[in-house]
């Protein structure tokens, strides 16, 4: 079901949705939302790309995207970040906070606009969860799309 209207709207909307999804993932430790929500938003942008194109184009587009590998990377990254806590603390201990690492700057006290470079482990976990969710949801939509299109072709 692709029409000129859908294609044109998609061209304008998809970049915005993808940027918004990434924003929610990256600001997970500061604003409402987080890895899962941002990943879902990001995947909805990709889902829009899928429905706006015909089957051959979608296959060509997504053939090179390693969706299931991305899913594994997301999960393994989460596990790895959690396992950092085994160095003297417990699993999932926030070892990166206040360490000066990326996302490890100390959080200033009091009212502030929110600093991106804080949060420690949380920010990394959000990114990995976001990766997993966007890959997982996109592959679900992709599979449904391919099955439905195939059946319609066979009729």
């Amino acid at each position: 079901m692709t029409t000129t209207i859908i294609r044109t709207t998609t061209k304008i909307l998809v970049p915005l949705i993808l940027v918004f999804g990434s924003y929610i993932i990256l600001h997970g430790h500061l604003t409402p939302g987080g890895g899962f929500q941002g990943g879902a938003v990001f995947a909805s942008g990709l889902a829009l790309l899928i429905v706006a194109n015909n089957k051959e184009k979608v296959k060509e587009l997504f053939n090179k995207v390693p969706l299931s590998q991305l899913e594994s990377i997301g999960a393994l990254g989460f596990l790895g970040i959690g396992a950092l806590g085994f160095m003297g603390y417990t699993f999932l201990k926030n070892v990166i906070a206040n360490s000066g690492f990326l996302f490890g700057a100390p959080t200033p006290k009091g009212i502030n606009p929110g600093y991106l470079n804080t949060g420690g482990t949380l920010s990394y976990l959000n990114i990995f969860v976001g990766t997993k969710v966007l890959a997982g949801l996109t592959s679900i939509v992709l599979i449904f799309f391919l099955i439905l299109r195939r059946e319609r072709d066979e009729w």
Partner: protein
């Protein structure tokens, strides 16, 4: 490293599950990977059990500075997710890891001709994660999360042979039952959270007051866990799921069912333990549910022609023994003299029956899987004379059938005797039903033995051979365990079962996080 064991129990199989999809089409590689990972978890769970049985309850607080920091910096309530492992949890963890290992070993040959195996093994290890999380956690919401993981992984595995319509149907059925059960659990957790403002099991248990809303929560939790462990009248999903699932998944799926039984015990013995008056009533409900479950299960098993379906109905029936044994114990939990006299032994019988049943029912379902592997059918009327062709399978089946019927010297006898003797003290009628069920069980397994293994050799099975070696090894491991547990029940009882029962009885210990607060 010992203090990190509870976290490693989850982290290791999770790591295995997420590495598995990377193997893609290397099916041999991913099978061996699954066997290695599940083997490591067996070792970890044995270490954990040793630690817990000698050192008491083990606490692991996630994200804290050290694992035992329940109440950090001046808080009077626990704020972090924690694992609280007592002997009962460790006992279930051993069952789960052992059965996942045996299942992975058996699957090596059993499903080698199927496709999508990297997902199969990934789901197998996720199912293991779900079970282990359920039995180790000390947090109600965490329990729900792991219940969902086990339910979703389980239903995907039930529907694994998706080229068969029946498998998809069974998978959907299992998915719906799990979803309904876990939503009811979530609702009950919401009720408790709304009142007590905390999700920690021990914390809620200390403050619970059994007002009307708490009773609703208890009812919801009891019903949903009874539903997921296949007690009559919510048993309808069991035969479909157990029949259609590949036989290598049967052992972990059985443990997943009993993880819900564990959750049922945890709810009645820990969460609502302080309610003196009404607990006896809950115990009676559990015992009567147990008797109904065992009797209805076995009568439905008698008329089946499909070998795996018949065994699945027996799985329902055997769950009844566990409910009966532990229910008798729950009835007298607040009566110290009766508890010492027969309550503790009744619970030991029920808990011991969990691991016994997991072992021999997995063995039986795996022999049924071997029959299916060789003959391509599960219909008993089409089989016959296979004893000459498949000697190891036949012997394994005989061991399993003798164990499930409660014949000495196999493991089923040890736990059933404990249940008979103790339920007699509560009410002789309970024992009568339990014994009749046992006789009927023997009758239906004689039928299976005669129609599948005995009789003249059939022409169409002329060229059949014994099943491949990994399947044989998996069956022999379980058959040997059946005999060892039957010959030396006292060792298992003293080392594993009585510590588990005492952990359930001494709920005050659990409520205080093993004496930490």
């Amino acid at each position: 490293m010992i203090e990190h064991l509870p976290a490693l129990m989850i982290a290791v199989p999770l790591f295995g599950a997420f590495i598995a999809p990377i193997f893609k089409k290397h099916y041999k590689g991913v099978s061996i990977w699954a066997i290695i990972i599940t083997g490591i978890t067996v070792i970890l769970s044995l270490l954990l059990a040793k630690e817990v049985v000698t050192g008491g309850i083990m606490i692991y607080v996630f994200g804290a500075d050290k694992p035992t920091l329940v109440l950090p910096s001046g808080y009077s309530v626990p704020i972090r997710i924690m694992f609280e492992v007592d002997a009962m949890g460790a006992f279930m963890a051993i069952s789960a890891t052992l059965m996942s290992f045996v299942g992975a070993l058996y699957s090596y040959s059993h499903v080698e001709k199927e496709t999508g195996l990297e997902k199969y093994y990934s789901l197998l290890m996720l199912l293991e994660v779900g079970i282990l999380g359920m039995v180790l956690t000390g947090d109600l919401f965490n329990l729900f999360v792991f219940l969902e993981i086990a339910g979703i992984a389980g239903s995907a595995l039930v529907g694994f042979r998706n080229y068969r319509g029946e498998a998809s149907e069974a998978g959907i059925k299992y998915l719906i039952v799990s979803a309904v059960a876990s939503l009811m659990v979530l609702f009950a957790i919401g009720i408790l959270y709304g009142q007590y403002g905390n999700l920690n099991l021990a914390y809620i248990a200390r403050n619970i007051s059994l007002n009307l809303v708490d009773m609703i929560a208890l009812g919801l939790l009891f019903t949903s866990f009874a539903m997921k462990c296949g007690a009559v009248p919510m048993h309808y999903w069991v035969p479909d799921a157990y029949t259609e699932v590949p036989a290598g998944i049967n052992p972990p799926l059985l443990v997943a069912t009993y993880a819900s039984l564990y959750a049922l015990f945890r709810v009645s013995f820990t969460l609502f333990a302080n309610i003196v008056v009404d607990l006896a009533r809950v115990g009676w409900i559990m015992s009567i549910l147990g008797v109904l479950t065992m009797f209805i299960g076995v009568t439905m098993a008698l008329v089946q022609k499909d070998v795996k379906r018949l065994m699945s109905y027996h799985a329902i029936s055997q769950t009844g023994y566990m409910l009966l044994g532990v229910g008798v114990g729950l009835t007298v939990l607040h009566d110290p003299s009766k508890l010492a006299e027969f309550g503790r032994d009744a619970m030991a019988g029920g808990v011991f029956h969990i691991i016994n049943h997991i072992i021999y029912k997995s063995l039986l379902l795996m022999t049924a899987g071997a029959l299916f592997y060789v003959t391509g059918t599960r219909n008993l009327n089409e089989m016959g004379g296979l004893a000459r062709k498949m000697p190891v399978t036949t012997i394994s089946f005989m061991v399993g059938a003798a164990a499930i019927s409660g014949l000495p010297p196999f493991n089923g006898f040890a736990s059933k005797l404990l249940i008979y003797e103790t339920s007699y003290r509560l009410n002789p009628l309970l024992t009568v039903f339990a014994m009749v069920t046992s006789v009927l069980t023997l009758a239906s397994f004689v039928k299976v033995f005669a129609s599948a293994f005995l009789g003249p050799p059939l022409e169409k099975f002329e060229n059949t051979k014994e099943v491949p070696r990994p399947m044989i090894i998996a069956m022999i491991i379980l058959a040997a365990l059946c005999i060892i547990f039957g010959l030396f029940p006292n060792i298992v009882l003293d080392k594993l079962v009585y510590p588990a029962v005492d952990a359930l009885i001494n709920f005050a210990q659990y409520h205080s996080w093993g004496g930490l607060a």
